[in-house]
């Protein structure tokens, strides 16, 4: 059966997409600035995730910066927790805390802002992460709570390639379909490169789309750097269908900085001041 995929061609969509593209650019600038100003970090996966985060935090998700625990808010779980730098940048741009705190304190002793996100320390962070393969289960729990309480909030979980190598992710995928969690959306940031090289050389995870279909999820496969496609994909979340929803976002590791793109060497690294300058100029 063909899945229906609606495209937003409304008059307001174009302006909104331009706004979201600018937010994504700003997120990328912040990633480069923060990591350059600290001890380095996960450039590649942070840059690949920027467009989806832009769409979620600046268009789709309901939240209150003055009430981070608002019970009706949409939830976001960053399962690929090592890219907390782009997530914290998004939270700062949303207004949960000043960006300067992230810029100045990232990875500093006792700082809330570091390689991995800690929900007990970061305003607006709905779940802690670090070890991979944990996030989707937590998202299933949040989605189940929403169903129990008859709330209409949505739960977004972003996972990466490595989450698809962890078996626990498939336990969670199985349960989301079993419990018909149509309030759960899993965004797969498929940048195809892990620490040691291309995922398909190290430990193949394809066919990703078929796997999620086999787990009885609805899945949309998109260009994860086309903001319009990302936005349409999220807007197509099939509320009321009884099926959880995966967005397979094909992305590029290090997207936006040519010397980082598709290079596993930039999974984790530290730019020289010259590289930071060049990266910021390229992002614009």
């Amino acid at each position: 059966m063909m899945e229906v995929f609606m495209v937003d061609n409304s008059a307001g969509a174009k302006a909104k997409i331009e706004m979201l593209e600018e937010k994504a650019r700003e997120l990328r600038r912040k990633v480069i600035e923060v990591l350059g100003n600290s001890t380095g970090g996960h450039y590649g996966g942070a840059l690949s995730a920027a467009d989806a985060l832009s769409v979620l935090y600046f268009d789709i998700m309901k939240y209150r910066t003055d009430e981070p625990d608002w019970p009706d808010r949409d939830r976001f779980v960053l399962s690929k927790g090592h890219v907390a730098v782009v997530f914290c940048s998004a939270l700062s741009m949303a207004g949960f805390f000043p960006y300067e705190d992230v810029l100045n304190d990232y990875n500093a002793l006792g700082s809330p802002y570091a390689m991995h996100c800690d929900m007990t320390k970061i305003r607006g962070c709905d779940f802690s992460a670090g070890s991979l393969g944990h996030g989707l289960s937590a998202g299933v729990g949040m989605a189940l709570a929403g169903k129990m309480d008859q709330k209409d909030y949505k739960v977004f979980v972003m996972i990466g390639d490595a989450d698809l190598q962890e078996g626990s992710t498939y336990e969670a995928a199985m349960s989301a379909a079993h419990y018909r969690l149509d309030n759960l959306c899993c965004i797969i940031d498929r940048n195809r490169i892990c620490v040691d090289g291309p995922t398909e050389d190290i430990m193949a995870i394809e066919p990703v789309q078929d796997k999620w279909k086999a787990f009885n999820w609805k899945i949309a496969t998109i260009d994860g750097h086309n903001i319009g496609e990302v936005r349409d994909a999220v807007l197509n979340m099939p509320a009321g269908s009884g099926r959880p929803y995966a967005i397979l976002a094909n992305t590029v590791k290090g997207k936006g900085v040519s010397f980082m793109e598709d290079r596993h060497e930039w999974h984790y690294g530290k730019c020289t001041p010259e590289q930071t300058k060049a990266a910021l100029e390229e992002i614009g």
């Binding site: 007990t120 070890s131 944990h134």
Partner: protein, 315 residues
């Protein structure tokens, strides 16, 4: 004939009543509804009863996610699966995040003798004790199990609460109601020559040991530590000061477990001789439950022998 009672059933009776009373309670099982006597709750709780199937990592992760939304999650699976297979989910998703999740682990210790080492847990105390924000409670018998079940709902705590349960009915220690307080040891028997500090099912064997010792003119105090973390330092220090010798008794590896926890208090606050009764760093293999305690030297003659030994070391 030793009177037996089922501590899992006693736990379950309390939890089921609490779940019917309090809307925020969610009961979760990893294909363990029947062993925990939770069958009636499947229909009664509806959405508030979740079966993850045999997927313990997911059980813990879902419990954590529910807790972030204000739910009181009770996760049920055998202790080896809860603490070993899903160890990292317990640590990262529940303890590190300070989420109030109760983990009720069955088949702790060697109580499920016939299951063999994969279905026994003799390292869980050591593992869980090292996690910040963790509470560990273990009942001496069914009556205490009910008290622990109620405490798991009532105590003021942010973080996981692990309840260390056996598998089959165990000997009754407490014939009638008694004063019980979270985090406070129970003095089961007064005594002045030495103190046996026991936890879980070992309280029964320790109590029997005090009777053997009494016939030999040895007056042994017996303390039941039902809350292993946070441990009752005060009662341990008092015992060390007043009796000058201690025997610990646990259904767990003596390495890193309950005896170690008691010893940490003793050596820091009032050093006196300590002897430990427990599993001697062995895999306990297979056997009928009632024969396992004897085979692995946990029964009253072994506790009594440890008492005689520690008395020889007492100055």
């Amino acid at each position: 004939m030793v009177e037996l009672a089922d501590e899992v059933k006693a736990y379950s009776d309390v939890i089921c009543a609490l779940a019917e009373e309090h809307e925020e309670i969610v009961l979760l099982v990893a294909d363990m509804t029947k062993p925990y006597f939770l069958m009636p709750m499947v229909e009664k709780l509806g959405r508030r009863f979740i079966n993850t199937g045999v997927a313990e990592q997911n059980l813990m992760g879902i419990s954590a996610g529910l807790a972030t939304c204000g739910k009181r999650a009770y996760a049920h699976t055998y202790t080896p699966f809860a603490v070993l297979r899903a160890c990292e989910q317990v640590r990262d998703d529940i303890a590190y995040t300070e989420q109030r999740v109760v983990i009720a682990g069955m088949c702790s210790g060697i109580n499920m003798g016939t299951g063999g080492s994969t279905h026994q847990a003799t390292e869980d105390i050591g593992i869980l004790r090292a996690m910040p924000h963790m509470v560990i409670m273990t009942p001496a018998d069914a009556r205490e199990s009910a008290k622990i079940a109620r405490a798991s709902y009532e105590i003021d705590h942010k973080g996981p609460i692990f309840i260390r349960l056996g598998r089959y009915p165990t000997p009754v220690v407490y014939q009638e109601d008694y004063d019980w307080e979270f985090g406070k040891g129970v003095t089961v028997r007064e005594g002045k020559d030495l103190t046996i500090i026991a936890t879980g099912h070992m309280v029964y064997y320790a109590l029997e040991a005090t009777k053997i010792l009494e016939k030999e003119g040895i007056d042994a105090r017996l303390i039941d530590i039902h809350t292993i973390k946070p441990i009752d330092r005060e009662i341990i220090v008092k015992a060390a000061e007043e009796t000058g010798a201690i025997v610990t008794a646990e259904e767990h590896n003596v390495l890193g477990g309950f005896g170690a926890a008691v010893s940490e208090v003793v050596v820091q606050e009032c050093p006196v001789p300590v002897e430990m009764v427990g599993i001697r760093d062995l895999w306990c293999s297979v056997g009928p439950t009632e024969e396992m305690y004897e085979k692995f030297e946990l029964t009253e003659p072994y506790v009594a022998e440890a008492a005689r030994k520690v008395l020889k070391r007492k100055k």
